[in-house]
């Protein structure tokens, strides 16, 4: 038995064509029964009202949306072959492709874990952290409902350390790559002796058996019954709540009977857990900045004409003059691109996204125009925020809460301006404001 292969495949479900091991090695392990094969696509027989309906299922991403399957005549198997378009960016899975599963003794970590964290928790954080630990030890799912800037990641450290000590395999999953990239160096510092892998689209190959995996929820399509404990961070972020296959992916990656824990600032109804902790204070103890509403009638028309509405112009000029960094959130990429003036701007497909955020942090630029892509995960000292068109559909209450959560995160500047410029107040805006005020009261 090849040890490296064992370490690689333990807990994974992997496309045969993509495995970084020689063909002969794989063949030998299949023959010995160490590797189990699964067809890429299977058909489920469904008893329908009239006759039988055949439903395709992708064995990697568990997609069952039928219009995301395509059948063609395959030159490799010389038959009609069906493939899944849903997870095609991870390498195509078709009827004639084989998925490899490790079917023998699991690899185990050999590290003596060390907990090198010297930070301190506030009494509220401490309480939530202990509640989480109790749930983790009792293997009961837990929801950690914490406001933006409460210091959520630190709360996980203790629970993760205890699990690692018990020889458990732990996964911290988040919907966005940016979050994983931010968490990775922090975890490496806190657990210096643990093998940690960070998995996201385009991640480099990483060696050895990881006891702790930080992964985007997408990458969990490639795992099956791998983890003893899973923490889903930012469980309210797009696309996790909107894409059912991602939620299924998290469940599939978790061992049966193992609990999944969620961390979020804006829980949705679909997140059902046994236990819950609420953390309604920021780590610095100050109130959350409450968004104020300001009308900006007909902003869309004015922007279309190449004019920045007066109030918005004033707001931007004031921030530029006082040299405070600012973010302006816009509802669409079109509006962002056509925004008059030469303010730097970022959206999801923007190649210099990271650099521009860095420049804002270092005060090399005065402000940034952005789409909702920067709604979470970024911390910029003393940043002021304006949302233009806050009544638009894309700004759900949870998006608005996250955006408001960018303001006043540091000890030095616990307050700041957060303004919703609108063309009519929406219910979602009200909801966001009420929620933030509610946390401040509690």
């Amino acid at each position: 038995m090849d040890k490296q292969l064992q370490q690689f495949l333990t807990g994974r479900i992997w496309l045969r064509e993509h495995i970084p091991f020689p063909r002969e090695a794989i063949d030998a392990h299949i023959e010995n029964g160490h590797i189990h094969l699964k067809p890429g696509i299977e058909q489920e027989q469904n008893q329908a009202l009239f006759g039988q309906l055949k439903k395709y299922v992708c064995n990697r991403c568990h997609n069952t949306t039928q219009h995301l399957f395509h059948t063609f005549h395959c030159a490799r198997c010389n038959q009609n072959c069906t493939y899944c378009r849903h997870c095609i960016r991870m390498g195509r899975v078709s009827s004639c492709s084989e998925l490899l599963l490790w079917h023998s003794d699991h690899a185990r970590g050999a590290n003596a874990h060390e907990f090198a964290w010297s930070g301190r928790l506030t009494p509220l954080q401490k309480k939530a952290s202990e509640e989480l630990l109790t749930s983790v030890e009792q293997n009961k799912s837990h929801l950690l409902h914490a406001v933006c800037g409460a210091g959520k990641t630190e709360l996980l450290f203790l629970s993760i350390f205890r699990c690692l000590e018990q020889g458990k395999r732990v996964c911290v999953a988040a919907p966005r790559t940016d979050v994983i990239l931010e968490l990775f160096p922090r975890f490496q510092k806190v657990f210096p002796k643990t093998t940690i892998h960070a998995l996201y689209g385009g991640a480099p190959d990483q060696e050895g058996f990881a006891e702790l995996i930080l992964s985007t929820t997408h990458q969990l399509y490639r795992f099956e019954k791998a983890f003893d404990v899973v923490f889903v961070d930012e469980a309210d972020a797009f696309p996790y709540y909107a894409d059912e296959t991602l939620q299924r992916a998290v469940k599939k990656a978790t061992k049966q009977e193992a609990a999944i824990h969620y961390v979020t600032a804006t829980p949705t109804k679909s997140l059902q857990t046994t236990n819950q902790s609420v953390l309604s204070r920021r780590y610095h103890g100050h109130d959350l900045p409450v968004p104020r509403f300001d009308s900006l009638w007909g902003y869309a028309r004015q922007l279309n004409k190449g004019k920045v509405p007066h109030k918005l112009q004033q707001w931007i000029e004031e921030k530029t003059k006082t040299n405070t960094p600012f973010l302006v959130f816009l509802p669409t990429i079109e509006m962002l691109e056509n925004f008059p003036g030469d303010l730097p701007r970022v959206h999801a497909e923007h190649p210099d996204r990271k650099e521009l955020v860095m420049q804002l942090r270092e005060k090399k630029i005065s402000g940034l125009l952005t789409t909702t892509i920067l709604e979470r995960g970024i911390t910029i000292e003393n940043v002021q925020v304006a949302v233009v068109g806050a009544e638009q559909k894309i700004f759900t209450s949870s998006a608005l809460i996250q955006i408001s959560g960018r303001v006043g995160r540091s000890f030095q500047y616990p307050d700041g301006d957060i303004v919703f410029f609108h063309h009519g107040i929406s219910r979602e805006m009200d909801k966001a404001q009420t929620a933030i005020e509610g946390w401040n009261r509690s």
């Binding site: 219009h67 395509h70 063609f72 005549h73 395959c74 030159a75 490799r76 072959c81 493939y83 378009r85 095609i88 960016r89 390498g91 195509r92 078709s94």
Partner: protein
């Protein structure tokens, strides 16, 4: 309908043509499709003058130019093997070949390469557009054109051989992308030498 490229649902716009005549349904939303740019440059292949390929191809028509949208389309279609994307250009290809008299001959793939990719991307484009075609050529060279310089491409030994009878007829070669033109000139010369009267070429993209 769900757009094949971005996945959002869209409503194909009703047209009189669709109601009374035959027209292929579009498989992408307008927003995605408008990112492809029609090619207006006429293809100049005067640089083949003086070589043995002079006059092999009579005309070349390329339908689209190569831009970011096309690049990511080709990546998903060929590299990620998303065969379904062959339908994206079904309508435009159907129109391009309409009223064009001549036997359509797709540029073939090497059999080994075909098994690797699992489908012939050039044939699938024609299939989805309901354009009948004949395989007259077979690929003999295994090396990939994309990795060679123009000079190397032209000096290469024949890339294809004729595997069926070529008549004294009008042929239309079809390929996915026109880069230096070496592939099409190699193929056209073979057809002409075997007795074809006229050889036209149509490609989806001008590289």
């Amino acid at each position: 309908m769900n757009c094949l490229i971005c996945g959002t649902t869209f409503q194909p716009s009703p047209t009189w043509r669709k109601l009374f005549l035959y027209e292929k349904e579009s498989s992408t939303c307008d927003r995605c499709f408008s990112n492809f740019k029609k090619s207006d440059a006429t293809i100049d292949f005067s640089d083949f003058q003086g070589t043995c390929y002079e006059g092999a191809v009579d005309t070349v028509t390329a339908l689209y130019s190569y831009n970011e949208a096309m690049k990511s389309y080709l990546h998903q279609y060929k590299f990620l093997q998303d065969v379904a994307l062959a339908q994206v250009f079904a309508k435009t290809l159907h129109q391009a070949f309409e009223g064009n008299e001549g036997i359509v001959v797709p540029i073939p793939m090497h059999p080994e390469k075909l098994i690797q990719r699992t489908f012939a991307q050039v044939d699938e484009l024609l299939n989805s557009a309901d354009i009948p075609f004949q395989h007259l050529l077979s690929k003999t060279a295994t090396s990939e054109q994309g990795k060679k310089t123009r000079k190397e491409r032209l000096e290469a030994s024949p890339l294809f051989e004729v595997m069926n009878r070529v008549e004294a007829q009008h042929y239309i070669l079809f390929d996915d992308i026109y880069t230096t033109g070496a592939t099409l000139h190699h193929a056209a010369k073979l057809l002409k030498d075997a007795g074809a009267t006229r050889v036209e070429a149509i490609t989806l993209i001008k590289g």
